[in-house]
Structures are given as C-alpha cells and as structure tokens.
Amino acid sequence: MSGSLNKKRFVIDTNVIFMSLYDVNSKASKIIELANQEKVELFSPESVKEELSRVLKREMDFSEEEVLFLIGTLPVTWIKKEFYNEFLDKTKVKHKDDKPIEAVSLMLDCGILSADYDFKDRLDINKLLRELGC
C-alpha cells in the first residue's frame, strides 16, 4: 500500500460501520469521513463484510445490487481469511465470533474501533478524534 506509512491504520468493527450509516453526524461517521479524506486507513476481515451482507439482505430486505452499492461506499480494505488465519490462534478475545477482528489487528499491528467491550484493547474513538484534530 504505497503512501500509507504516515497514515493511521485501524480495524473497524461492524457495529461502528452500522453506527456511521445510522447517524451521519456520529463519531463513527467522522471516522468514515477521515478515511474518505485518506487521513486514516480502515481494514476489516472479510467475515465482517459477510456479516454486513447477511444482515442487510436477511434483516433489512436489501437487494444484491443495494448490498454491493452500500458496501462499495465504505472506505474499508477487506482482508481475506487466508491472510489473518495464522493470527487466529494468537487472539485473546473471549468469543470465537470476534477472533477475526483481533486477528487482523494483530496482523497489521493496529488498534480496533469497536463498540464491543469484549475487545479489551479497543480504541477510544473520542480520544482518537481529538488526536486527529477533529
């Protein structure tokens, strides 16, 4: 990823993505805006993309086309399982469901943006936005 060395990298969880879509004035939405400005870089495992896709289709009646559109607007780099697989065993999070998120954060050596308290090392969004001058 050229030109990414000076940018801050984060792993973003589903709940933060949903919050950014639900409230465009939220702090989560500000994170998306910063990523669109290329001031930060957002990553997430493909399992999160799959989760988004299933929720949108199954629970919200999105069509396949609408799902592709919505996911396509997210400035997130989706990491395939084959890349973070070896880090799954190194994760400390309690639930198996959350392991891919922590595995990607271990792989990229970066913090997690999540509303889930199970991630003990999750980043404080308020503090982060202050550091980024927002």
């Binding site: 639900y22 669109n36 799959e50 299933r54 607007t73 799954l88 639930h95 469901d97 959350d98």
Partner: protein, 80 residues
C-alpha cells in the same frame, strides 16, 4: 506519476476550478473532488440504510443484536 488524456474543454474547466479554489495543483483539486464524490455516495448509502430500517420497523439496537447473532453463525461456518 501517471498521465491521463482528457478533452480540452474539461481541462479548461479543471484549470478554472483550480484557480477559483486556490489549489496548488490539479492533483490536489482531483483529490478534493474524489473526496466529495465518496462522501456523497456514503451519504446516499446512509439514507438507504435508514429508509430500510424504518420500513422494517427495526430499532438500531435490535439490528445490532441480529448482527451479533449472524456473526456467530459466520464464525461457526468459517472458523474450525
């Protein structure tokens, strides 16, 4: 650096806009235009998301609960 070919009139418009905005170079202007485009698309996605949520009469907290359940289902399928 890469070069792209664009029609003369579009080039002229870009130059005028660059001068109006006081951007140092065209790359800076294009970056700003791209940001505006991405943000607009994201706002469209957000609007669609809220519309669907309302149509389904789903609260945001209920949606998060359903999402958590689906995450468990994916973990069972994807992680041995």
């Amino acid at each position: 650096m890469k070069t792209i070919a664009i029609p003369d009139d579009l080039h002229k418009e870009l130059m005028q806009l660059r001068i109006q905005k006081g951007d140092k170079n065209t790359a800076e202007l294009i970056k700003e235009l791209l940001f505006e485009f991405k943000q607009r698309r994201f706002l469209e996605a957000s609007s669609l998301f809220r519309k669907k949520l309302k149509e389904k009469n789903l609260s945001f907290s209920d949606l998060l609960k359903k999402s958590k359940k689906i995450r468990g289902e994916i973990a069972d399928e994807w992680i041995s």
